[in-house]
C-alpha cells in the first residue's frame, strides 16, 4: 500500500537549511534596498480640489484617440495600481495604444473630509473632474473607465449625467452585491453601520486592510511571505514584491459618511440593482445608461466575484453592451503579464470602434 507522504529526510533538512540561509542573506538585501517607486509615468496636474487631483499623462505625440479617457479609481487603496511599475502599467499601455489618459487621484481623506457623502463624490468631485477634462478638449462628452468601487461610481454618474459620458468602461466593478459568493458583502450585512461610522468617524485604512487580509488569511498573511523568501536573493523580483506591498498597505482612510452610505445602500441594500438607489436625492436608474458599455471582470476575483460584475448586463439600458472575462484576479487584471498583453489593447480596440 502506498502512502501519500514521501518526504526524503535529507531533502527536508536541506530545504530547511536553504530557507534559513535565504532568510539570513535576505536581511542584507533588504537593508540595501530603498522604498520601491511606482512607474511614475510622466504626468501633469490639470485640476485639483481639496485633496483630489486630476492627472493627465504625457503621451509624447502617440495619441490617436479623439476622446479622452478618464480613469475613476476606487476610494480604497491608491490609484497607482494603474501605473505600478514601468513594465506593468495599464496607464502606460493605454498611452502606447493611442489613448489620451486622465486619472482621478482621490488623495488621503482626513478629519476634514469626514462628512463627504456619495453625493459630494459623484455629483460633486467626479462631475467637476469630468467638466475639467471636457473643457480642456472642448467636448460635450468623454470616455469613463471606472475601476472597482470607481466603476460603481461611474455607473451612478453616467445614469445621472448621461450627456457627459460618451463610452463607459467598468473594470472589476460590483453591481449585484448580494451574490452568494460575495464574502465582504456577507460579513457586513449584519453590521450596524451607523454605530460603526458614528464611532470610528473616518474608517482607518489599517482596518480596511485587516478585513481584506482576513478574506484569505493564510495566503495573504503567511504563504505570500514564505514565497517571498525564495526571491530574497533576486533584487528585481524583491523590488517588485515590495512595491506591491507598498501599494497594498499605503492606503487612504475612508471618509465616514461616504463609507456609511456605500455600505448601507450598496452592500446591505443592494439598491443599485434593485433600482432604489438615490444619490443626492436623485434616483439612480441603470436603465438610463444608454451609452456603449464595456464590462471587464476577473474570473478569479475574490473581492468582486464575477457574478457580481456580470449582473450589469441585465440592468443597463444600452443596446451596445460587451463583457470581457479576464483569466486572473482582482489585482492581476492590472499588473499580470497577461493583463499587459490583453487588457489595454482590448479597451483601445473597443473604444476605437466607437470613436
Amino acid at each position: 500500500m502506498y502512502t501519500p507522504l514521501r518526504i526524503d529526510p535529507t531533502k527536508a533538512l536541506g530545504d530547511i537549511a536553504t530557507f534559513q540561509r535565504k532568510l539570513a542573506a535576505g536581511m542584507g538585501h533588504l537593508r540595501s534596498m530603498r522604498e520601491p517607486e511606482y512607474a511614475n509615468t510622466p504626468r501633469e496636474l490639470v485640476y485639483s480640489e481639496d485633496k483630489l487631483k486630476v492627472w493627465h499623462f504625457i503621451d509624447h505625440g502617440k495619441t490617436t484617440s479623439k476622446t479622452p479617457l478618464l480613469i475613476v479609481y476606487a476610494l480604497v487603496n491608491t490609484v497607482w495600481m494603474t501605473d505600478l511599475q514601468a513594465d506593468r502599467s495599464m496607464v502606460r499601455n493605454l498611452l502606447e495604444q493611442g489613448e489620451d489618459v486622465y486619472l482621478i487621484d482621490w488623495g488621503y481623506p482626513d478629519g476634514a473630509d469626514r462628512w463627504l457623502t456619495l453625493d459630494d463624490y459623484i455629483n460633486g468631485y467626479l462631475d467637476r473632474c469630468v467638466d475639467a477634462v471636457r473643457a480642456r478638449h472642448d467636448l460635450d462628452a468623454i470616455n469613463l473607465l471606472g475601476i472597482c468601487q470607481g466603476g460603481a461610481f461611474s455607473l451612478c454618474y453616467t445614469a445621472l449625467h448621461a450627456d457627459k459620458v460618451k463610452n463607459l468602461i467598468t473594470m472589476v466593478t460590483p453591481v449585484d452585491f448580494h451574490t452568494p459568493d460575495n464574502m465582504l458583502s456577507s460579513w457586513c450585512r449584519n453590521m450596524d453601520v451607523d454605530l460603526f461610522v458614528d464611532t470610528m468617524g473616518n474608517i482607518p485604512a489599517g482596518l480596511m486592510n485587516y478585513v481584506y487580509l482576513t478574506l484569505k488569511p493564510l495566503r495573504l498573511n503567511q504563504q505570500k511571505y514564505i514565497g517571498m523568501v525564495d526571491i530574497l536573493d533576486n533584487p528585481t523580483e524583491l523590488e517588485n514584491f515590495l512595491r506591491m506591498e507598498r501599494w497594498i498597505f499605503d492606503s487612504p482612510d475612508q471618509a465616514g459618511e461616504a463609507f456609511r452610505q456605500f455600505i448601507k445602500d450598496f452592500y446591505q441594500g443592494n439598491k443599485l440593482v434593485k433600482g432604489t438607489l438615490e444619490i443626492g436625492g436623485r434616483p439612480v436608474d441603470l436603465s438610463m445608461v444608454t451609452q456603449p458599455v464595456l464590462n471587464i471582470f476577473a474570473e478569479q476575483d475574490h473581492l468582486v466575484p464575477p457574478d457580481a460584475s456580470r449582473a450589469l448586463g441585465k440592468h443597463v439600458g444600452t443596446t451596445d453592451y460587451t463583457q470581457l472575462a479576464f483569466k486572473g484576479g482582482h489585482i492581476g487584471i492590472y499588473v499580470s503579464g497577461r493583463a499587459q498583453r490583453e487588457v489595454p489593447p482590448a479597451i483601445h480596440e473597443w473604444l476605437r470602434q466607437r470613436a
Binding site: 502512502t3 534559513q20 460633486g124 456577507s186 454605530l195 464575477p306 457574478d307
Partner: protein, 363 residues
C-alpha cells in the same frame, strides 16, 4: 549512541535562533520608542513599514518552526500511519494557522483586543480595581451614581464584546478542524506514485489550500455573518463608551472634544454644499425635468430596439482570448436581452450604437 540527524537539527536550531534574533533586532531598531502610559492608547502604527515587517516575520517564524518541528518529529521518515502523523504536524499548538490570525491583529488594524487591555489596565490603575458591573448590574446611589452606572455599562459592554469574540474564535477553530479533514482527503487522493507529496513545502501548500477552502466555506455561512456582525457591533459599543468617557474628561479640562470638532466639520460641509448649490440654481431646477426627458428617450430607444419583429438575442460575452470554457459559462448566465456587438477587436459596433449621435463640439 550519536544521532547525526538530531544533532544536526539541534545545532541548526541554535544557528537559526541567532538569525531570528538578528531579524528581531532589525525590527526593534526601526520601532519608535513607546511611552508607558496606561491612560494613553498608542496611535496605530503606519500601515506600511514596521507593521508589515512584523507581520512578515511572524508568518515566516510560524512556518519555520513548523518545518523544524516536522523534521525533528521524524515526519520525513516513512510514516506508519500518515493520518496520525498529520495530526501531530498540524493539529498541535504549534500549527501555523494561529500565527496567520494572530499576526493580522496588528496595530494597523487598531488591535481591538489590545485597546480593551489598555482600557482595563487604565481603569485598574485608576483605582477601579475589580470593575463594577462585571458580576452583573448593581444599583448605584450617591454623588458618584452616574459615574458608577457608566462604569457598569462599560464593563457589561466589554464582557459582551469578549463573548462575541469568543464565538468568532470558536468558528475559526471549527474551520481549523475541518481543514485537517480536508487535508487528509486531499492527501488520500495522492497515494499513488507520481502524485505523492515529496517535500515539506508541498505539504504546507496543500495544507494552505485545505485550510483556505474550509475557512471560506464557514466564512460564507449565515452563522458566521451573524457572529461577525455581533463581534463588530459589540466592539464598536465598547469603543463608543470609551470615547464618551474620554470626552467627559476632556470637557472637564477645557479641551475641545472630537464631537465638537466633528460637528464643526459637518456644518462646514453643509455650508459648502449650499454655496455650490446657490451658484447653479438654474441647473438644479431643471434637473428633474431633464431626467424625466432622458427616461422617456431611453424608453423610446429600447422600444425601437425591441421592435415587434426583432427577435431577442443573447448578449455576447467575449473573453479577452476567445474560445475559453469560462466564456461559455458566462454566456449561459447572461440573460437574453437585445442584439449588440462584439468580440473585442473583431466585430464592428452595432447599428444601434452607430446611430447614437456622436458627441459634438460645443462650438
Amino acid at each position: 549512541m550519536a544521532d547525526p540527524a538530531n544533532d544536526f537539527i539541534r545545532d541548526y536550531q541554535s544557528l537559526a535562533q541567532q538569525s531570528w534574533d538578528a531579524w528581531a533586532r532589525q525590527l526593534q531598531q526601526q520601532q519608535p520608542q513607546s511611552v508607558a502610559n496606561p491612560f494613553f492608547t498608542p496611535p496605530p502604527a503606519p500601515a506600511s513599514g514596521n507593521d508589515t515587517l512584523e507581520r512578515t516575520l511572524a508568518g515566516l517564524k510560524g512556518y519555520f518552526d513548523w518545518m523544524q518541528g516536522a523534521a525533528a518529529s521524524g515526519a520525513a521518515a516513512q510514516p506508519v500511519d500518515w493520518r496520525q502523523q498529520l495530526q501531530q504536524l498540524f493539529g498541535g499548538a504549534g500549527q501555523p494557522f494561529a500565527q496567520a490570525f494572530g499576526g493580522i491583529d496588528s496595530a494597523g488594524a487598531e488591535g481591538f483586543a489590545r485597546q480593551w487591555q489598555s482600557w482595563m489596565q487604565a481603569a485598574q490603575h485608576g483605582g477601579f480595581g475589580d470593575l463594577p458591573g462585571t458580576h452583573g448590574p448593581t444599583p448605584a446611589f450617591g454623588q458618584d451614581r452616574e459615574q458608577q452606572m457608566k462604569q457598569q455599562a462599560m464593563a457589561a459592554a466589554v464582557l459582551e464584546s469578549l463573548q462575541a469574540s469568543a464565538r468568532y474564535q470558536a468558528l475559526i477553530q471549527r474551520s481549523n478542524a475541518q481543514a485537517m479533514q480536508r487535508l487528509q482527503d486531499k492527501l488520500a487522493e495522492r497515494a499513488e506514485p507520481g502524485r505523492q507529496i515529496d517535500s515539506l513545502k508541498a505539504l504546507y501548500d496543500l495544507w494552505v489550500d485545505a485550510a483556505e477552502e474550509a475557512y471560506a466555506e464557514i466564512a460564507l455561512t449565515d452563522e458566521f455573518r451573524e457572529v461577525y456582525g455581533e463581534m463588530v457591533n459589540t466592539q464598536m459599543r465598547v469603543r463608543q463608551m470609551q470615547q464618551q468617557q474620554t470626552e467627559q474628561f476632556c470637557q472637564q479640562l477645557g479641551v475641545p472634544t472630537r464631537s465638537e470638532v466633528s460637528s464643526l466639520g459637518e456644518r462646514l460641509q453643509a455650508l459648502r454644499r449650499e454655496f455650490r448649490a446657490s451658484q447653479a440654481p438654474a441647473t438644479e431646477d431643471r434637473a428633474d425635468e431633464i431626467m424625466a426627458l432622458r427616461r422617456e428617450l431611453s424608453a423610446l430607444k429600447r422600444q425601437v430596439a425591441n421592435g415587434p419583429k426583432a427577435a431577442p438575442a443573447a448578449k455576447k460575452v467575449a473573453p479577452i482570448k476567445p474560445s475559453t470554457s469560462a466564456v461559455k459559462k458566462s454566456v449561459s448566465k447572461t440573460p437574453a436581452k437585445v442584439a449588440h456587438t462584439t468580440v473585442a477587436g473583431k466585430a464592428k459596433p452595432s447599428a444601434a450604437s452607430k446611430s447614437r449621435p456622436s458627441p459634438r463640439k460645443r462650438k
